[in-house]
Each structure stands twice: as structure tokens, then as C-alpha cells.
């Protein structure tokens, strides 16, 4: 249990997708003009991340990893399909996003309306693919860890986009030098937030 909590805190604060790896920056900058839309996208990312990371973990463990096909029989034990991981991960993500979209539309119409166009866009959000690729790199020992990592990295991204959106709402009333308005100041503020997040590095886990 403690192990899972550590992993969660590490993936939210210490290895924050945005501040430590700059992942998902495109939508982070494009959709952070108001807190409302930002939190919609953030929640959608947590949602999809929680589903795709464990799904890709299973794929990695039983199909792609070196020797993963051993369960089919001894003859398959030395097959290494890891070069296929990019294409299969992205296919799983695109399929899962479609599936999640349909399920949410059927069973939670209000959530579907509030997530709106963000759900389909998530298929090409770098944060989702990055979650799966980091999962592959970290070599988690069981699916529980992979799920926790999915939730954690999604929450970290959500936290980041909501905080920058809140700051940008306030920035509208500040007197910023004209060439720096909009994009420029967002970059610099993200940098400063990143420096602040580095303070979490001191936490012993």
C-alpha cells in the first residue's frame, strides 16, 4: 500500500509530466485560457490515462516484451516484438479513446457534454502516449503499479493545466510588455512553476 502511495506522489509531484518532462505542452498551452475548459481536459486526461496505461501494460507484458510470448509455448520464448510497441500503443490509445467516448456518451451524458471535443483530441495528446512509454521504461512489476502510475501521471498533468489556467486568468489584468503577451509569458511562467515544483525533489520517498 505504501509503495502505491509513494508511486502516486512521485508521479504527481516529482515526475510531473509538464514540469519535469514538458509532455503534453501543446494542449497545455492551447487549452489553458480558462479554468473551466482546462479542468474538463484535465479530467479527461486522468480518465483516459487510467485506462490506457494498464491496457498497454498487459500488452507489453504478454505480447511485446522480449520473451513475453512464452505463454504460447516454448517455441515462442525467444521472440522479441518490442519494435512494434509504438504502433500498437498508439492503436490501443486511439481505440480506447473511441471506446471511452462511446461508453461515456451512453452512460454519463452530462459528463460527455462537459468533456465535449476534448475526448477525441486526447488520442493525439502526447501525455497519453508518454504515460505508456514511461510505463514501458519503468518496468513495473504488476498491473496495480501501472494503474497507479496512470492515475498519478494524469493527475499531475491535470494539476498543471488547472494551475496555469488560473494564473493566465489573472494575467489578463496585468500590464505585460506587448511582445511577451500570450504565449511568451505563459512559457516563462511555466518555467517558474517548474522551478517551484523542483522543490518537491527534497521529499524522501
Amino acid at each position: 500500500m505504501e509503495n502505491y502511495l509513494n508511486l502516486f506522489i512521485r508521479s504527481v509531484f516529482l515526475e510531473n509530466m509538464v514540469f519535469a518532462y514538458f509532455i503534453g505542452m501543446c494542449s497545455y498551452l492551447a487549452v489553458s485560457k480558462s479554468v473551466k475548459t482546462a479542468s474538463g481536459l484535465g479530467i479527461a486526461v486522468i480518465f483516459v490515462q487510467t485506462i490506457t496505461v494498464p491496457a498497454n501494460y498487459l500488452l507489453e507484458k504478454y505480447l511485446l516484451k522480449d520473451g513475453a510470448l512464452k505463454w504460447l509455448g516454448e517455441g515462442y520464448a525467444d521472440i522479441d516484438l518490442s519494435f512494434l510497441s509504438f504502433i500498437l500503443f498508439i492503436a490501443v490509445i486511439a481505440a480506447m479513446v473511441q471506446l471511452v467516448e462511446m461508453i461515456v456518451e451512453k452512460f454519463a451524458p452530462t459528463l460527455y457534454i462537459s468533456l465535449g471535443i476534448f475526448l477525441p483530441l486526447i488520442a493525439v495528446n502526447c501525455a497519453i502516449l508518454a504515460g505508456s512509454l514511461f510505463m514501458q521504461q519503468k518496468e513495473f512489476i504488476n498491473i496495480g503499479e501501472a494503474t497507479v502510475y496512470g492515475i498519478g501521471s494524469g493527475s499531475g498533468w491535470c494539476l498543471a493545466i488547472i494551475s496555469i489556467a488560473a494564473i493566465r486568468e489573472k494575467l489578463r489584468y496585468s500590464n505585460i510588455p506587448a511582445p511577451l503577451r500570450g504565449l511568451g509569458i505563459s512559457f516563462i511562467i511555466t518555467g517558474l512553476m517548474g522551478l517551484a515544483f523542483m522543490g518537491f525533489m527534497g521529499i524522501k520517498l
Partner: protein, 216 residues
């Protein structure tokens, strides 16, 4: 179109040069920042990354543009992802074979070229509506525009952060404090947040020169 205007006509050349400044994918269109910043603490991975992105953008633009009339509109994203993912696998395998150390440094960021917004952006905005040759040029132009920013950031980060360029030490060893000199590397330049601040400053400089790009 190609019969009436030369292969390197003015219009086609503009496709190449426009993304370098006025329509730069990173500083103006805000595309492809995800991978742009993480690989720029040194010059070498930044250059390798730029070349990889340029190759993938150019060829995926070319391929999608060639088959653009046969792709059903509803499944075009999946088709694009498959084409891009295949190209990225090729690039990744080549990097692993010939530049193993750089490929280790780039870690997941080679894979993330698949979801690089420059690719999807250019495929959607240009390749689906244009002939193969202009699309190819547009891909190269955008890749180069991306590379230009990457190399600039990496230049400053490596020079000020490690005192070297492309791995060669430029600052004489006797200048350093530990050797009795007066100089110390600015360790902050190596940290991830500095990349963001440098991009912010680049945007600032670019927009003060070209006032038509200022927002609001």
C-alpha cells in the same frame, strides 16, 4: 501545377522558408513543444532530434498527400497515426543501430514524435489538401523551423550550463573556480525549467522584431 511552375518556384520556396520565421511551428503556431524542450540540454541530441522530426514530417506529408484522395474522411486520424508510427519505428530502429548513445539519451522522446503536434497539424492543415511535392517541401520547412529553435535553445543551454558545445569543452579548465580560476557553470541552465524560460525569451525577441505577431 508542376508543369506550369518550376520545382523550386517562388511559391514552393516560400513553403520552405516561411516556417523558419513568420510561421515557425514552435514560436508562432505553438506546435510540437512537447518534445522540443526535453532534448535540448545538449547540442547533439537536439540536432539528432531535429533531423528525425524533419525526416518524419517530410515523408509523412508526402505519403499522406499521395493517398489523400483515397482516405475516407472519418478514419483519417487513424490512417495518419499508422503512417507516422511506421516512419517513427524506422527512425527509432536506425537511431538504435547507428547512434545508440544518443538514442538512449532521447529515451521516450523518439516515440513521442508520433504524437508531435507538428506532424498532425501539418498533415491536417496542409498534406490533406495539397499535391505531394509542395507537401514534402512544407514538411521539410516545418521540420527545419522546429530544428532551428531546438538548436538555438540547445546552444545556449549547453554553452552556459556545461561550458561545452557538441561535447567539446570550450571554457579553459584553469578558468574554473575549483582549479583556482573565477568561472563556474550555471547549473540552472541544465534544469528543465530553463528551457521554457529560454523559449519565452526567444518569443519575446522575435515578437519585438516582428510586431505583427503580437497577441491581443
Amino acid at each position: 501545377m508542376i508543369e506550369t511552375e518550376g520545382i523550386f518556384s517562388k511559391k514552393n520556396l516560400r513553403l520552405l522558408t516561411n516556417p523558419l520565421s513568420n510561421a515557425n511551428p514552435i514560436t508562432v503556431l505553438v506546435l510540437g513543444i512537447c518534445s522540443a524542450l526535453a532534448v535540448t540540454s545538449q547540442l547533439k541530441p537536439a540536432v539528432v532530434m531535429s533531423v528525425s522530426v524533419t525526416i518524419v514530417t517530410a515523408f509523412s506529408n508526402l505519403i499522406i498527400s499521395m493517398i489523400r484522395n483515397t482516405i475516407p474522411n472519418r478514419i483519417r486520424i487513424i490512417v495518419q497515426l499508422v503512417v507516422v508510427a511506421t516512419l517513427v519505428i524506422l527512425v527509432d530502429q536506425v537511431l538504435k543501430a547507428f547512434l545508440y548513445d544518443v538514442s538512449k539519451q532521447l529515451t521516450v522522446f523518439v516515440g513521442l514524435i508520433i504524437t508531435n503536434c507538428i506532424l498532425m497539424g501539418r498533415l491536417e492543415a496542409f498534406a490533406l489538401g495539397n499535391k505531394p511535392w509542395p507537401s514534402f517541401l512544407d514538411g521539410i520547412g516545418n521540420g527545419a523551423g522546429y530544428g532551428l529553435i531546438l538548436v538555438t535553445i540547445a546552444f545556449f543551454r549547453e554553452l552556459l550550463g556545461s561550458g561545452s558545445l557538441w561535447g567539446y569543452k570550450l571554457i579553459p579548465q584553469e578558468w574554473y573556480i575549483e582549479n583556482g580560476g573565477w568561472y563556474a557553470n550555471n547549473g540552472m541552465m541544465i534544469l528543465p525549467p530553463m528551457a521554457l524560460i529560454i523559449v519565452g525569451v526567444i518569443i519575446w525577441i522575435q515578437r519585438s522584431k516582428k510586431t505583427e505577431l503580437i497577441e491581443d
